[in-house]
């Protein structure tokens, strides 16, 4: 356990991870609640594909701890953890996931298409394609003479896409204030990294663009926090982009309904859950005790259940508005 990080920050990282996990567990519950006995992806209060980020909380918590209002995040098809850690309006995000009029996109987007302009948060369901717009946001920040930064998130499978490499080159060339984050959860749906990627880790690829590349092992939230601190500082000071790859964990399936029959490591997965591990460490360090844990969990549960209730109370969109918002 690093001692360079102070206890208040450790507590915040823990709280953030618990909030994210509580949220994902609640969405999991609501998603499956009315898909029994037969699973029908299009049925129920939350229809459609659902990619949950349980196990990947350390990445979002560690990175977003350094961001302020005004900094941008572009996330992936698995966006909830970064949305929560970056302060997206949880009520409106949840209403969007439920497809309701009070949702961030008034029910037009869904869980892979969350846009909160107040938080400068967006995500895209297309692998690696959130990278180029993040560079553009960073370009706008730079042109306007601000010290704001953009964080672009992808999974390790995206690091083989053209958009990933084009954006690294462009951002390095123009010294844009971007932090490129790669969440390596070992699996591109069913294909392991060893079968998709020619290099041992994607942080090595930063060298091809002349920018710093950092690999964080073991899903370690404090190591993510430290790597992101340096990267954000560099970006704010005009030092250009950094690539950070975090070896994280996909605790659940690629999407809900994924039986993960392909997954040889399945048995060992629960033992790698980063939250109990971090909680134990903080207990040992005297930062957490039963009472503190209970407070954190209760606060997270209240926040999440209130967001779920907000979503359920919001009306569904009026079918007569189907053509709205195509154009401004």
């Amino acid at each position: 356990m690093s001692s360079r990080i102070d206890a208040a920050v450790q507590r915040d990282l823990y709280d953030q991870m618990v909030l994210i996990r509580t949220y994902e567990e609640a969405i999991l519950r609501e998603y499956h609640a009315d898909k029994k006995p037969a699973f029908d992806i299009g049925a129920g209060l939350i229809p459609g594909e659902m990619h949950l980020a349980a196990g990947q909380e350390p990445v979002a918590a560690g990175v977003c701890a350094h961001l302020s209002r005004g900094d941008a995040v572009t996330a992936t098809h698995r966006p909830h953890h970064f949305a929560i850690a970056h302060g997206v309006d949880l009520n409106r995000m949840t209403a969007e996931i439920f497809g309701r009029v009070d949702g961030l996109g008034r029910g037009r987007g869904g869980h892979m298409h969350l846009f909160d302009p107040d938080a400068h948060f967006s995500c895209s369901g297309i692998i690696a394609e959130g990278y180029p717009p993040a560079a553009g946001q960073a370009l706008a920040f730079k042109k306007r003479g601000t010290d704001r930064v953009a964080v672009a998130v992808t999974g390790e499978g995206a690091a083989n896409q053209g958009a990933f490499h084009e954006t690294l080159n462009l951002a390095a060339l123009w010294k844009l204030p971007v932090i490129f984050v790669v969440e390596d959860n070992d699996w591109g749906i069913s294909v392991p990294r060893s079968a998709s990627t020619s290099v041992a880790n994607n942080a090595e690829r930063a060298a091809a663009y002349g920018i710093p590349g950092v690999r964080v092992e073991d899903n370690a939230v404090e190591a993510v926090h430290e790597a992101a601190r340096e990267a954000v500082e560099r970006a704010r000071n005009g030092g250009g982009p950094t690539l950070i790859e975090v070896h994280t964990l996909r605790l659940w399936g690629h999407f809900e309904g994924d039986a993960q029959g392909y997954r040889a490591d399945l048995e060992g997965v629960p033992g790698k859950d980063p939250i109990p591990t971090y909680e134990a460490a903080l207990r040992e360090a005297g930062i957490l005790d039963d009472a503190a844990v209970a407070i954190t969990r209760r606060a997270a549960s209240d926040t999440v259940e209130s967001a779920i209730a907000f979503a359920k109370a919001s009306p569904e969109p009026d079918p007569s508005t189907v053509r709205d918002y195509v154009f401004a």
């Binding site: 298409h113 180029p132 553009g136 918002y325």
Partner: protein, 360 residues
């Protein structure tokens, strides 16, 4: 019906009633007209900037940005790597932050390497965000063939873009419209695809085209996106077309008027999203005859859409079946005799018009 006259302006002595003086104009080619419009908007609005391949020192391969680098510097006229996904995506991100980028895709044919950013991001973000995020940008791109550039550098493809919801598509045919539509596109809060035909630019290294030079208003000049123009009024046959084909249609119309064959009305669509259906229907209702001239592929495209809209409105306004003069469903060939068989040439347009007016 009662009319509230209290809001009407006075009629006597109202300056609006006086014949307006013709606006000051200067003669420019289309490329220069585009550049002037961009420069004017860059002067007016700091958030406007240009990026793309060879838009700086070269001035745009088809002269769409000539001189802008000298006037505005490299911070606002940015050469990019050959990396269309990267830099078009960057334009999108900058637009979502409130800037107004003009990004050039050198040839529209190159959309294959960057279409995800265009149709899944540029065109959908406003919708997916429920109207909360605007993407005010111009994607300008060169289209068209006729100079043996082969199948990957000669297409128009506007029907492909128009098919996908969320982007306006403008296609000027002359210098004044190019300037006015560019100004409107830059000021628009939506993504606008601005498709200029290489053959209307007035480039010194292509076939000379007298219609590529014309008067352009020197003051603030905006052409509303979504309004067709009557390029030539006529009473016998309506030719609905756009871009370089407007020039050919006008040439043919003049020839057929001179020899007394037909009085041809030429409708220049100017934009296809939105499409000015009303203007098309109004004209065809008068003439009863329709020829659609489209330099894009024939099937599943603009010409079929226009036919469908007439059929949905009232097919009985037609006195004869419509004629389509488009690119048959083949890639644009390289060899000149083949290319000029595929393109909607004046000869093909003339034949179609004569077919409409000839007694059955």
């Amino acid at each position: 019906m009662s009319i509230d006259t209290t809001q009407q302006p006075a009629t006597e002595g109202d300056p609006a009633e006086q014949p307006a003086a013709a606006p000051a104009t200067k003669r420019l080619n289309t490329a220069k007209a585009m550049v002037e419009a961009i420069a004017r908007e860059m002067e007016r609005d700091e958030d406007v900037f240009v990026l793309g391949e060879d838009v700086g020192a070269y001035g745009g391969i088809f002269s769409s940005t000539t001189g802008l680098l000298d006037r505005f510097g490299p911070e606002r006229v940015m050469d990019t790597p050959i990396s269309e996904t990267g830099f078009i995506g960057a334009a999108i991100g900058a637009a979502t932050e409130g800037m107004r980028p003009i990004v050039e895709l050198m040839f529209v044919d190159f959309f294959g390497v960057c279409m995800d950013q265009i149709y899944n991001h540029m065109a959908k973000i406003h919708f997916e965000s429920g109207g909360n995020v605007k993407v005010p940008m111009v994607l300008m791109t060169a289209v068209g063939g006729g100079y043996s550039d082969g199948a990957q550098h000669s297409q128009c493809l506007w029907g492909t873009f128009a098919h996908l919801p969320g982007m306006k598509v403008v296609v000027p045919s002359n210098p004044a419209d190019a300037a006015g539509l560019m100004t409107a596109a830059i000021r628009d809060d939506n993504p606008v695809v601005f498709m200029f035909h290489k053959g209307i630019q007035g480039l010194p290294w292509m076939a000379k085209n007298k219609r590529s030079i014309g008067p352009v208003p020197t003051g603030d000049h905006v052409v509303e996106i979504g309004k067709a123009a009557t390029a030539r009024p006529g009473s016998d046959v309506t030719v609905v077309t756009l871009s370089l084909s407007v020039h050919h249609a006008l040439d043919v119309a003049e020839e057929l008027a001179a020899d007394g064959t037909a009085d041809v009305e030429v409708i220049d669509l100017r934009s296809i999203v939105p499409l000015d259906t009303e203007a098309i229907i109004e004209s065809v209702t008068r003439t009863g005859h329709l020829v659609i001239v489209d330099e894009d592929y024939q099937s599943f495209g603009l010409s079929g859409e226009i036919a469908a809209r007439i059929a949905e409105h009232d097919p009985t306004i037609l006195k004869a079946p419509i004629s389509r003069v488009a690119v048959p469903d083949v890639p644009i060939p390289y060899a000149r005799p083949l290319e000029y068989t595929a393109l909607p040439t004046p000869a093909r347009i003339k034949e179609a018009i004569i077919g409409q007016v000839a007694p059955a």
